[in-house]
Symmetry: C2
Subunit: 145 residues, 2 copies
DNA sequence: TTCCATGCAAAAACTTTGCACATCG
DNA sequence: CGATGTGCAAAGTTTTTGCATGGAA
C-alpha cells in the first residue's frame, strides 16, 4: 500500500542540523513504498534506483530516520527487524511454523494497554512486536512441515 | 525460581528414539535452574560443570528439547531468544529503552486470544513474545539515556 | 557393532566500526 | 571551505553446517 512520500524529510533533517542527501531520501522512499521491510530488502529496493548505495548507509540511515521519528521497526520473533514508516503502525500476528503474517486491529490490545498503564505505568507499544502463535493451517495440521 | 529437575528426560528421549547423553541432561538442568536464559547463558552454566561442552551442542540440544516439548523459547524484541522450561510459560513486558522486564498475568491476553481463534483460527501463543513499550521510568523521563 | 551425538572448524547471516574521500550547505 | 555523510573493507555477533571421531544401546 505505498502511501505518498511524506514531504517533511528536508525540514526534519535541517531542524536538527542534519544534511539532506539523496541516499536519505531514497531510503525513506523505499520504506514508504515497501510498507515495511528488513534493512536488506530496503537496500535492494534502493539499489534498483541507485546501485552504488552501500548497505552500511542503509543501516545508518534507518537508525537516523528512526531517531527522527520518521520510521520505526518491529520484530517478528525471528530474524531481521522490519522497518516501516511511522504512520504504518499496525499490529500483526505471525505463525511460528510457516511464518504467515496477518494484520489485526490494534484496538484489540486496548484493554491490555490500559491495564499495563494503570498497574505498572507501562506504556504499551502496540506496533512493536507481533503476536506469535499458530495460523489456522499449521494449528490444524500438526503433521505438515 | 529453580524448579526441581523434571525426571522425564530419559524416557522422553527413548520414546522417540533419541539417546540420553550427559550433555542433554546438563543443558536441560541448566535451563531449569536458570529459569530462563539465552543459548550463551545456558552454555556458560553448562561450562561451569563440564567445560568441554561446545556451544554448538547447546544450540542443537535446545532445538531438540524444544521439539520434545521440554523447553520453549521466547523473544524479547531485540537480541537472542530466551529459553525456558515448558512449565515456566509466562507473559512479559519489556521496556524498549532500558530493557526492564516484568512478569504480567497471561490472562490479560485471553480476550485477544479468543478473538484471534474465532476470527482467524489463529492459536495465540501467549508466552512467546514479550509486550514491548516503555516502563514507567523511561516513559516519564524522556530525557535520560 | 551400529548409528546417533559431539566437537571442531568453517561458513553464514546480520550489523557495526574505522577510515579516507566525497559532498552538502 | 569545513563539517558531515558515504563507500569500502574489515571485524564483531550470533547461529548453522559439514565432517570425522566418539559413545550410547
Amino acid at each position: 500500500m505505498p502511501t505518498p512520500t511524506p514531504g517533511g524529510l528536508p525540514e526534519t533533517l535541517r531542524a536538527r542540523g542534519y544534511r539532506l542527501t539523496p541516499q536519505r531520501q531514497m531510503v525513506l522512499d523505499a520504506v514508504v513504498e515497501l510498507g515495511q521491510g528488513t534493512p536488506e530488502e530496503i537496500g535492494d529496493r534502493v539499489h534498483g534506483i541507485s546501485p552504488g548505495v552501500n548497505i552500511t548507509t542503509v543501516y545508518r540511515t534507518l537508525e537516523l530516520l528512526e531517531q527522527l521519528g520518521l520510521v520505526r521497526h518491529r520484530h517478528f520473533g525471528h530474524g531481521a527487524p522490519m522497518y516501516h514508516a511511522s504512520d504504518y503502525d499496525t499490529l500483526h500476528s505471525v505463525c511460528h511454523r510457516c511464518g504467515e503474517v496477518a494484520v489485526i486491529p490494534g484496538e484489540l490490545l486496548q484493554p491490555v494497554a490500559q491495564w499495563l498503564v494503570e498497574e505498572h505505568g507501562f506504556a504499551l507499544d502496540t506496533g512493536h512486536i507481533a503476536l506469535a502463535g499458530l495460523c489456522a493451517t499449521c494449528a490444524g495440521d500438526p503433521s505438515a512441515e
